[in-house]
């Protein structure tokens, strides 16, 4: 079962051994941004989730930060 890790502090994710890593926005709101309007924020979140889903259909041979 492939897993994608959405995480702000990417070096921690690399250290603990996640294989598919998608960098996130900030520690308290990895998939949000309080500076955006709700609509903009949801659109950004959707883009991040779509990108994360695409990593799940991408074959990799080693730890990869997308």
């Amino acid at each position: 079962m492939p897993v994608v890790h959405i995480v702000t502090v990417v070096p921690i994710s690399v250290t603990v051994g996640a294989n598919r890593i998608v960098p996130a926005v900030a520690i308290p709101h990895p998939l949000g941004n309080p500076k955006m309007s709700q609509e903009e924020e949801k659109l950004m979140r959707r883009e991040m989730v779509v990108k994360s889903l695409e990593t799940l259909t991408t074959d990799i041979s080693e730890q990869t930060v997308f």
């Binding site: 079962m1 959405i6 998939l31 989730v49 259909t57």
Partner: protein, 346 residues
């Protein structure tokens, strides 16, 4: 001092794998590696009896074997139990470790030896003193003197052994209070100076070793995939019904999102005590993106969103607890036919 020595069928000269079901046998005096150990300890201690037990017998009948060995201990009344060395023989190492745990339960010390990657070390390191050996019996000529040295030190110091490195046993992952000559800040600066100078130094707090997993093969398509959400960001139903700890979490939660299209201030919040919770408490989708995954589900981009999500608090939570949570969650996802998971961390 009287020693009871535990060895397996091979070192007890009963045979190899074909004798691995050899039941517990009690012999007077030393056998096999016990001979050299006994000689090395001459004048300090003596192996009065030896237990020989097949590795398969012990591991397949653990409860019975432990009961039998307990009876022997009650009868022989040793002052110290020595087991192995087991090198990298997994069943033998687990048996030696279990004998050490039994000894501890009976208030007796146990000294054994094995390779650090032997599962017996990880399972039982807290209840026996374990000398590090290499991974095969070719190391016997070094392992025996090392074990004898530790036993001699144990006798000399009346059981009050010093730190692992100075005594020659592997760390037991126990914290013991001690007086240090220098305060922590001075010790840290000394270490830093040694490090900058390229000199050797010994950390007082070794970092955990993380294992590596080969990347899993990609999904062929998302259209029929069942995607699950997992988070270490502490998202929980409002009120944190299972009281997941805000730090050093002892448990994870498993919650239904059936019929939920959006996480709101009224429905969800975070239990996490290690980051500013304001944004997540207003809209937990910023940590656990249920809203957009429901949209993608409706649009047919993914097959479905799994109706349960899994959550814990990754705030000072131990690696061992995290591994346990991870393994259980992964098994539940597999049992539910989940194709892939999105894990979010704060």
């Amino acid at each position: 001092m009287r020693i009871l020595h535990y060895i397996n069928q091979f070192f007890g000269q009963k045979g190899g794998e074909e004798a691995a079901n050899h039941p517990i046998e009690l012999v007077e005096g030393p056998v096999g590696p016990g001979g050299a150990l006994n000689a090395a300890l001459a004048g300090k201690a003596e192996i009065s009896h030896t237990i020989i037990c097949g590795d398969s017998y012990f591991n397949e009948n653990e409860e019975v074997a432990v009961m039998g060995i307990k009876e022997i201990i009650d009868q022989v009344k040793p002052d110290l139990i020595v087991a192995g060395p087991a090198f990298n023989a997994g069943r033998y190492g687990v048996a030696c470790g279990r004998v050490g745990k039994l000894a501890a339960e009976l208030g007796l010390p146990c000294i054994t030896g094995m390779y650090p990657e032997n599962p017996g070390y990880d399972l039982y390191k807290q209840t026996a003193y374990m000398v590090e050996t290499k991974n095969s019996a070719a190391d016997m000529r070094k392992a025996i003197p090392n074990m004898a040295k530790l036993i001699a030190s144990f006798i000399e110091k009346d059981g009050k052994l010093g730190m692992p490195a100075e005594e020659g046993y592997m760390p037991r992952n126990l914290r013991i209070n001690m007086f240090a000559e220098k305060r922590g800040a001075a010790r840290a600066v000394d270490m830093l100076i040694a490090k900058l100078g390229g000199e050797e130094f010994t950390t007082e707090y070794p970092m955990p070793v993380f294992d590596r997993v080969a990347p899993f093969k990609a999904l062929a398509s998302l259209k029929d995939a069942k995607i699950a959400l997992v988070t270490s960001g502490g998202v929980v139903p409002k009120g944190n019904p299972d009281h997941i700890e805000s730090s050093s979490a002892q448990k994870y939660g498993e919650y239904s999102i059936e019929g939920i299209d959006d996480l709101t201030e009224a429905s969800h919040e975070t239990a996490h005590g290690g980051y500013d919770p304001v944004k997540c408490n207003e809209n937990s989708d910023v940590v656990l993106p249920v809203d957009v995954l429901r949209d993608l589900e409706k649009e047919g981009v993914i097959g479905s969103l799994h109706n349960m999500f899994y959550t814990t608090v990754g705030n000072g939570t131990s690696v061992s607890n995290s591994k346990k949570f991870g393994a259980e969650i992964a098994q539940k996802l597999l049992d539910a036919g989940v194709s892939a998971a999105i894990l979010t961390s704060t």
